[in-house]
Amino acid sequence: MSPWLSWAITATLVLYFGAMGVAAWRLFRGPAAQDRVLALDFIYVVGMLAMLVLAIRYDSEMYFEGALLMALFGFVSSMALAKFLLRGEVIE
C-alpha cells in the first residue's frame, strides 16, 4: 500500500468521524424524536462506510460481513424506532 493511499484512508476516516460528530450533535439536540432517529440512522450508515474503509486499510475481507450486519441491524433498529413513533408500539 502506497503511503498516499494510506494518507487518503486516514483523511477519509477523519472526515467520517467529523460527520458522525456533527450528527451526534443533532442526535443530542434534535428538537423532536424523529430528528434523533434520523441522526442515529445516519450514524449507522457512516459507521458502516467506515467499516468498508477499514477493510481496504487492513486488506482484509472480514470487515465486509461486519458492514453487512451493520447495514441490516441499522435498518431494523431505525424501522423499530420509526414504528414506535408512529404507533406507540413496535410489534402489533
Binding site: 500500500m1 502506497s2 498516499w4 493511499l5 487518503a8 484512508i9 483523511a11 477519509t12 476516516l13 477523519v14 472526515l15 467520517y16 467529523g18 460527520a19 458522525m20 456533527v22 450528527a23 450533535w25 443533532r26 423532536a32 424524536a33 424523529q34 430528528d35 432517529v37 434520523l38 441522526a39 440512522d41 445516519f42 450508515v45 457512516v46 458502516m48 462506510l49 468498508l52 474503509v53 477493510a55 481496504i56 475481507e61 465486509f64 458492514a67 453487512l68 447495514a71 441490516l72 441499522g74 435498518f75 431505525s78 424501522m79 420509526a82 414504528k83 413513533l85 408512529l86 404507533r87
Partner: protein, 133 residues
C-alpha cells in the same frame, strides 16, 4: 499469483475514498443546518447513495486489483442499502407527519407565495398519518 498493486488503481481508490468522505461531511452538515425536519430528511440520502457507491466502487477496485479475480461481493452492501434506505425514510416521514399533525400543525404547509389560509371546515384528522399498510 500475486501481482504488485497497480499505482493507477490505488490512485482511483484514494480519490473515490476522499470523495465519499466529502459527501458524507456535506450530508452531516445538511443534517445539522437545515431548518425543518422535512428538509433535514433528505440529507442522509446523500450518504446512503453517493458515498456508499463511491466506497463500494473503491472496495471492488481494491480487492480486484490483487490478482485474485473480481471481488464483487461488496455490491451486496449497495443492494441492501438501496432496499432499506427508502423504507426507513418513508416510515420516518410518516411518523413525523403523524406526530406533528397530532401536535396541531397544518401539514403540508401552504405553497410559497400564497397567504396562509386557515384550513377548511374539517380540521386535519389526527389519524390521517396512520395509513401505513
Amino acid at each position: 499469483m500475486n501481482l504488485p498493486p497497480l499505482p493507477l488503481a490505488e490512485g482511483i481508490v484514494a480519490l473515490l475514498l476522499l470523495f465519499s468522505g466529502g459527501v458524507v461531511l456535506v450530508a452531516a452538515l445538511g443534517l445539522a443546518r437545515l431548518r425543518d425536519f422535512f428538509l433535514r430528511m433528505h440529507a442522509p440520502a446523500l450518504a446512503s447513495t453517493l458515498a456508499a457507491w463511491a466506497v463500494t466502487l473503491a472496495s471492488v477496485l481494491h480487492f480486484s486489483s490483487r490478482g485474485e479475480g473480481l471481488a464483487l461481493h461488496v455490491w451486496l452492501i449497495i443492494i441492501v442499502l438501496s432496499i432499506t434506505a427508502p423504507v426507513t425514510t418513508l416510515v420516518l416521514a410518516r411518523a413525523a407527519l403523524f406526530r406533528r399533525r397530532q401536535a396541531g400543525e397544518v401539514l403540508p404547509p401552504p405553497l410559497l407565495g400564497h397567504r396562509a389560509t386557515p384550513p377548511p371546515s374539517s380540521a386535519p384528522s389526527p389519524t390521517s398519518g396512520r395509513g401505513l399498510g
